[in-house]
Symmetry: C2
Subunit: 341 residues, 2 copies
Amino acid sequence: MGSNRATLADVARRAGLSKTAASMVLNGREGTRLSAEAHQRVFAAAEELGYRPNLAARSLRTRKTATIAFVSDIVATTRFAGGLIRGALDAARERDHVLLITETQGDATFEQYAIEAVLDRQVDGVIYAAMATRRLTVPPAILGGPVVLLNATSPDGLPSVLPDDDRAGRAVASALLELGHRDAIALIGRNRLKEDDPEVSLAARARLHGIQQVLSDADVTLLAECFCAEWLPEHGYAAMRTLLSRPQRPSAIICMNDRLAFGAYQALGEAGLSVPEDISVISFDDDPIAAWLRPSLATTALPHEQMGRRAVELLLDGGATVPSLVSMPLRRRRSLAPPAG
Amino acid sequence: MGSNRATLADVARRAGLSKTAASMVLNGREGTRLSAEAHQRVFAAAEELGYRPNLAARSLRTRKTATIAFVSDIVATTRFAGGLIRGALDAARERDHVLLITETQGDATFEQYAIEAVLDRQVDGVIYAAMATRRLTVPPAILGGPVVLLNATSPDGLPSVLPDDDRAGRAVASALLELGHRDAIALIGRNRLKEDDPEVSLAARARLHGIQQVLSDADVTLLAECFCAEWLPEHGYAAMRTLLSRPQRPSAIICMNDRLAFGAYQALGEAGLSVPEDISVISFDDDPIAAWLRPSLATTALPHEQMGRRAVELLLDGGATVPSLVSMPLRRRRSLAPPAG
DNA sequence: AGTGGCCGCTAAACTGATTTAGCAGAGCAT
DNA sequence: ATGCTCTGCTAAATCAGTTTAGCGGCCACT
């Protein structure tokens, strides 16, 4: 691949100068005393030969590769990952960097392998990403260079990028209060495991906290809270059926994510209830499915692109060591209405 | 990153041998006449020092980087991409390679940039992937080395990996015939643009061809065929409503993809019809929502992981120059039943 | 005794860049 | 004429590997 490319020596020869001169000119070194004419000749020669530096050679000397490792447990291959990678890719491109992607699949052997693979390639830094927002311990091997945690924090106090789930929870609750919902708001997706173990999830706790904060400030208590073992459509469906079997029907439902909401929609449809006339629904994530549902689902968007972008910025431009919270915009859609009656 | 690592010279010194000897031993070179004892000493020294070769230095000499570029129009950041990348990642790891990912976003400037970026890094080969299965022309710059097209073909006769949509179409039609559906099968998702322009889609034509083949072999004609401008839920919804407004109600629906089927489900639900008792539905892609729908949606799975894997295999192990078709397994789910009455 | 071959190993060149140290010549002052 | 500084540039070292060419010693054969 890219075999017979012109080398710096070729450029220098053509310009009638030394490699040193050519190198300095092309790197725009300050304080060199090369003449304007020398600059001209080097640029011209490089242009004519279509010169592109051999980055392997360069990085051998400089120990820079203009390459960032994107190491994830499994994020690179899930629907949630798209935006993270896209954002990181964009920010990297703007800084003339490129992304080396590996996946550990949560397996220690693979992780070991992935980390050695990227360190062997002398990456300039590592973005360590998690699929679920959570706390984790990074493998010590990567601590030799810059690291940014994406969608995760660690006890080491490494720079990290997280979605602002707490604020999203407040936004969700506020949206319902503003519409006049008060005494018949139900919540789907309580889960002690997620809420209490930061190594499993940080989002559950933060979302819940935000919601409770706003509700208790307004002196509102939840009509019901449904436990869900997982945040999948079938669990949302089951939870919604349970809610509908109770004497008082809720006027609004908060789902801890869009897939639960999808399941809730299914149960509502079967029960012949309509959203939002009979019941409002609001949720978290802004999964693509949220916009596809009928009626479209109001939700708070996980800012994946922003997060990926922010991670690269922190890594290359440096910055805050406090967790960088990226806000989750509220998408107001058709699933919201004032309570009936 | 990876600053004070042991070098080959360190290993050689510790083993009391030359760099040459150390290099040859560690690379397992055949035909060298180094003693068994020399081997021992080198391995021991490398082990003790935790030696890992500097790949930049190595590739400067060998022009191999053990790195593959994964260049895509936009695939890397969509839900459909996950599997492609995952498969490629797995196959690459098995061969001790790593993936450099870039995205062109269909923009010529970005594409130019992406290609230069990967060529500058001396990748061993390029996987050029497309989001929609289609024919495309690859930028000449990457033709200097091995290239495999993923989810695409080109007029250049480059090796390529495609899903076997034709066979999937046959499987879908056969599944309905087997259940006894004959004279009331409708199709949602006809689209001339997709069917006739291979630069837009190859899948539409192939799926349709497979379906038509099986049906005409069985002397069956479609009850109706609905045009859809895009293959999104709203179009499936509209198409389904149109179908339901006609005098004869279909007994089964084939949707050109799962998102159309999702829309069709919505229309059926609103009309109070149930799947599969009133109408069977079958589709293509095996989008995650297919399994989440109630009832779960029968569909043919795009074999993303297999495809990504195959692309790497073709690239590194060599192989067929005829397009490599990967079969799309039929997922039999609850949306299928014999026709009512 | 001469020489040819094999054995076990190494010195040095090479990859393509960056970077350090320093050289030749001009101009100026003494 | 000598010494000094400044200008404009270059030779050579360096990064960490791979690869080529070949060296010295020993044995066997003629």
